[in-house]
Symmetry: C2
Subunit: 218 residues, 2 copies
């Protein structure tokens, strides 16, 4: 165990970041410091600090009426895709070089969870499993700066999932991508993983473009 010497602020920050990760915060939820403070039995201040930090890091957006999940515009989503096309493949290459057997076992479990969720048609579980898979390989990136640069686009990944993951073809793309990446990770195929991750990001962008056009003409 790490030192339990942590401020309320940091605990709340980590708690809510985790909630955002695993989809426990709904898009309509409005997070208000006084409300959360009352629930936790602390004052506004540490809650406020945590929420403002999450907002500055892009995981939430501050409105005049509480914090909510960010509503990335269509343009912003496309802009972030360009950044991710540069970063994610290299990060995956690092992961391929560094993942240990235990971490690969964990990824296999997440991939199996994702497949099961697809079979059950359980979107919520599919989101969680996809996020766990992504979080898993990112954790193995030894370059800490690369790691945090890649992590930063969590909201983007979630937005894209929200738009695309209901589609059966997309679900297949995700399952195939996870399985092929797993093979490359097991083989420590650095260049293969880099290339496959680039393909995966491009596929995600194509799916997003196709499905966002179909559903909503922003």
């Amino acid at each position: 165990m790490a030192q339990p010497r942590k401020s309320h602020r940091d605990r709340i920050y980590e708690d809510y970041l985790e909630r955002i990760r695993n989809g426990a915060i709904a898009r309509r939820d409005r997070l208000v410091d006084t409300t959360i403070a009352a629930e936790l039995g602390v004052s506004r201040m540490p809650v406020r600090d945590a929420l403002m930090r999450l907002a500055h890091e892009g995981y939430l957006t501050a409105t005049t009426r509480g914090f909510t999940l960010p509503n990335l515009s269509h343009e912003t989503v496309l802009e972030i895709f360009e950044v991710r096309r540069l970063l994610d493949p290299r990060a995956a290459a690092w992961a391929a070089q560094s993942l240990d057997p235990g971490q690969i076992t964990a990824l296999e479990r997440h991939a199996a969870d994702a497949q099961a969720a697809i079979d059950d048609g359980d979107y919520q579980a599919l989101y969680r499993a996809s996020e766990a898979f992504r979080n898993g390989w990112i954790s193995a990136v030894p370059n800490r700066e690369m790691q945090s640069a890649v992590r930063r686009y969590l909201s983007h990944v979630q937005t894209v999932r929200m738009v695309t993951m209901h589609d059966r073809r997309v679900q297949q793309i995700v399952a195939d991508g996870q399985n092929e990446l797993l093979d490359l990770f097991r083989a420590r195929d650095v260049l293969g993983a880099e290339k496959r991750m680039l393909v995966f990001v491009i596929q995600a962008e194509q799916s997003y473009r196709a499905l966002s056009r179909a559903t909503d003409g922003r």
Copy 2:
């Protein structure tokens, strides 16, 4: 003019970010909220919020005794170089496509300032001119996400400058890089600018490796 409707917090944030940019904060300075608050005639809170935000964004580090400029470890500097090798060239390509004549004129002025500073041996002026040049072309990047991703590594750039810029050969590399980039920007040579920026980042890394090894065995 934009609306003057801004919180103290945001004004202080921008003010101190600007000070960090143009080198007005020395490495030994310790920024303490109560002190700054007293100078500005406000309470700790907005100052504290601004400083904590700057710290979370990597522009400062929080110590147990005030905020200071970050002391990036040798390893961190090298890790960030890898990220910048991916991002900076693409950002420069975007800039080449988008810079308008007025912006190019501004860049020419900054490059001239840099050359003058080199001739005078005025490091402080050279830092400022280099930062202004960098800030100038980054501002022209139309992809806002790319822009903020690249801006984020300000402290890295400053750290590298601090270690390398006293060297005559490095000064020549900087001057050459600025002039050649300017030519490419003027010609709207997107691919040329991308490639030249990659060369520039690699040169910076090589200079850093050589000079940090020479001066300090971290």
